[in-house]
Amino acid sequence: MSTLGHIYATQDAAAARRNMLLGVKLGILSEIMLFGALFAAYFVIRSESGGWPPHGQERPELILPGLNTLLLVSSSVTMQWAVRAIGRGQLATMRLALRLTLLLGSTFIVIQGYEFATNGFGLTDGTFGSTFYTLTGFHGAHVLAGLGLMAIVAIRARRGLVSAEHHTMVEAASYYWHFVDAVWVALFSTLYVL
């Protein structure tokens, strides 16, 4: 079949880019509903308990998670910096911004791991432990996935495969990263603060 190449040739880069970005947005919509279910469970269980946290449990201190919030919000800024740089063809700047984002995101995970280890309560400690670790754990898994995406972008950029013309992946990763960031802000304000 000599004509097989048609499929790939006719799907020109611009169309492929639009398809990919729409696909990512739709995927994020589905993820919003997933976190919606988790948040719904949290609020229902919390509203039915006679006081939160129940049974004299203590919420974690705000210092580390507060620092984590700062880290993640700044990482959204550096991510957007990367998108802007590659749009203007500044490959070196993009790689710097991407590395910064990776560093901020990884620090977030390390701090969260430390927090989990020192919290003094576990997944099996009643509804408080269940909701706390399930929600933050799901979010943490998403952070890891986002870091994986960025690592892929970084590797491909190093091989010169990312350019002003071909940077759909950077944009896609940035959509996802902003979403993960927004979920964290919601988590931080409901699980830790309010």
């Binding site: 509903m33 976190f35 919606g36 279910a37 269980i45 009643g126 509804t127 399930t134 091989r159």
Partner: protein, 610 residues
């Protein structure tokens, strides 16, 4: 052939390796004194087996090199699209949407037969009062029948007919993400296998709804079902994204949204529902799995959890899921009607609007499954009203079919017979739904055979009648052969009579108070139950006629012309079966595809069969 080549053999080996590492590793760890539960062994074994299977089939062989910046082997990528006439492509990670469509369709029918066999076992138990399979055995048979049939209804039309036809009907060469499309299909075999073998893991008792606390305490078979359901959900989300991007970004020139075939419209709404709703139930089932496997207490009332919460989350997906099952059937019916009535589709824009309205409303009615659950009282009346409201757009879809038939020049070919069967069955399903939407009657009828009858009239009447109508209608396009009209009509009449003989008496049984999901019943119901069982066996036999017709006609049937029905949607402009790339050149669409009754009109130009 090397066993390291991507393919079924490597996939099976990969799955076996996953079980060995996951389940074996944890068993060893338990042997050395660690506190590990059976459920954790099953969970890790299954997860790694799924990974091993998908890697083994070759799902990641293009993505992985791409991710680490290696040059992508484009020759191999084109080869993964499959060669026309090569039967082996149906057993591989093939990216051609037509191959994937056939894979889905054949798998769905195999699953349909398996689930049907479980239904026959149920009717065998229920043919007379007393116990044959035993209570636990009956529960497992009933639950497995439900779980499998739900999967059939979820994947058969959109996965099978939809994958095969949507890209052709909107005039493009493939789906937006062919590799993801193939991944969606190859995620399915393992969970389906897991549900099929759940009796070996002790079976499960809850039915497909998996309500806690029973589902927290039940056997490992229960956990198998939960994990399988989440996997099918992930596959369904990936497939929904693919459909939506394809439909919104890849239509042929001139194919405006309001010129899309109604079948494509119904699948678009279906995919939107699947995209938005599925992750909610995936979340709910994950929390339930965490309760079982990791010791959380989301749904454990003894530790502050809430069982009603599970029902809310479950039905928030599972009521839209009824429309995920039903809308593709309605779409297939509306696609068939104009062709065999030789009239334009009646009220096409209103039918489109109705599909969208059904989609929106379906998110506001879920709690009508929970009138007897003990949920908040104030919720009853609003939910009752929205539930009754949804019959308005559904009625408009119905009227669109009736209005097209009215004064039409009817051709009673097999697909059209299924349309009439649909109208009868879905009408009964719809009318009896009113009694279940109304709070007072629902409280009386809840958990009786009235519900069973209503459900089967809507889902068999909507989905399965649509599936059969569509399967006969598109059989020439998919296989390039004509089916046997005589066997098709025999199938229709036998199936329809047996189906009605089975489920109409169940309304009566339900009103008389026979409870559903129970293996035994009082002796006064014996006569009707024997009748129902005999009728049910007839459904199974009639499906055997269908299976024979499909297999025999696919092998030996007369060759089909490109457009045997003189239909106007784009798929009939391709040869039967369509060539690998569907169109030699992409057609230009000039009108809706329902320009029947006016000689010399056509809805599109170009795109001739190659």
């Amino acid at each position: 052939m090397s066993i390291l080549k991507p393919g079924l053999l490597r996939a099976v080996l990969g799955a076996a390796a996953g079980v060995l590492i996951g389940a074996g590793g944890l068993t060893l760890a338990r042997g050395s004194g660690m506190d590990i539960r059976d459920g954790q062994i099953l969970a890790l074994g299954y997860l790694l087996a799924l990974l091993g299977f998908v890697v083994g089939i070759g799902a990641f062989r293009f993505w992985l090199p791409w991710a680490i910046g290696r040059p992508v082997d484009t020759t191999a990528e084109h080869a993964a699209h499959g060669t026309a006439g090569d039967w082996r492509r149906y057993f591989r990670f093939t990216t051609d949407h037509k191959v994937i469509g056939v894979q889905y369709l054949v798998s769905a029918f195999l699953l349909f037969l398996t689930a049907g066999t479980f239904a026959m076992l149920m009717r065998y138990e229920l043919a007379q009062p007393g116990l044959v399979l035993g209570k636990e055995g009956y529960n497992t048979v009933m639950s497995t029948h439900g779980a499998m049939m739900i999967t059939v209804a979820l994947i058969s039309i959109i996965g099978g007919l939809g994958n095969f036809l949507v890209p052709i009907m909107i005039g493009t060469r493939d789906m937006a993400f062919p590799k993801t499309n193939a991944l969606s299909y190859w995620l399915l075999p393992l969970p389906i296998l897991l549900v099929a073998i759940n009796p070996l893991l002790g079976g499960f008792d809850t039915g497909w709804t998996a309500y806690p606390p029973l589902s927290q305490q039940a056997n490992l078979g229960q956990q198998a079902y939960l994990m399988a359901f989440v996997t099918v959900g992930i596959s369904s989300i990936l497939s929904a994204i693919n459909f939506l991007v394809t439909v919104f970004r890849m239509r042929a020139p001139g194919m405006s949204l309001m010129r899309m075939p109604i079948f494509v419209w119904s699948l678009t709404v279906t995919a939107t529902l699947a995209l938005v709703a599925t992750s909610v139930v995936a979340g709910a089932f994950t929390m339930l799995l965490f309760d079982r496997v990791l010791g959380t207490s989301f749904f454990r009332p003894s530790r502050g959890g809430d069982v009603i919460l599970f029902q809310h989350l479950f039905w928030f997906y599972s009521h839209p899921a009824v429309y995920i099952m039903g809308l593709p059937g309605l779409g297939a019916i509306l696609e068939v009607v104009p062709v065999f009535a030789r009239k334009p589709l009646f009220a096409y824009p209103l039918a489109v609007l109705s599909f969208i309205t059904i989609g929106v409303l379906s998110f506001m009615v879920w709690a009508h499954h929970m009138f007897v659950s003990g949920m908040a009282e104030f919720f009853h009346i609003p939910i009752m009203l929205t539930t009754e409201l949804i019959s308005v757009p559904t009625g408009i879809v119905f009227l669109s079919a009736l209005g097209t038939i009215w004064m039409g020049k009817l051709h009673f070919k097999t697909p059209m017979l299924w349309v009439f069967g649909f109208i009868w069955a879905f009408l009964i399903g719809g009318i009896t739904g009113v009694y279940l939407a109304d709070v007072p009657t629902d409280i009386t009828l809840s958990d009786t055979y009235f519900v069973v009858a209503h459900f089967h009239y809507t889902i068999v009447g909507g989905t399965i009648y649509g599936l059969f109508a569509g399967s006969y209608y598109w059989f020439p396009k998919i296989t390039g052969r004509m089916y046997s009209e005589r066997l098709g009509k025999l199938h229709f009449w036998w199936f329809t009579l047996a189906f009605n003989a089975t489920f109409l008496p169940m309304f009566w049984l339900g009103i008389e108070g026979m409870r559903r999901r129970v293996a035994d019943y009082p002796p006064e119901f014996a006569g009707l139950n024997l009748w129902v069982s005999i009728a049910a066996f007839n459904i199974f036999l009639s499906v055997a006629v269908f299976v024979f017709n499909m297999i025999w006609s696919w092998a030996r049937g007369p060759r089909a012309a490109a457009n045997p029905w003189r239909a106007q949607t784009l798929e009939w402009r391709c040869s039967s079966p369509p060539p690998v790339e569907n169109f030699e050149d992409i057609p230009t669409v000039t009108d809706t595809p329902y320009q029947y009754g006016t000689p010399g009109t056509a809805a599109a130009e170009g795109g001739a069969a190659s």
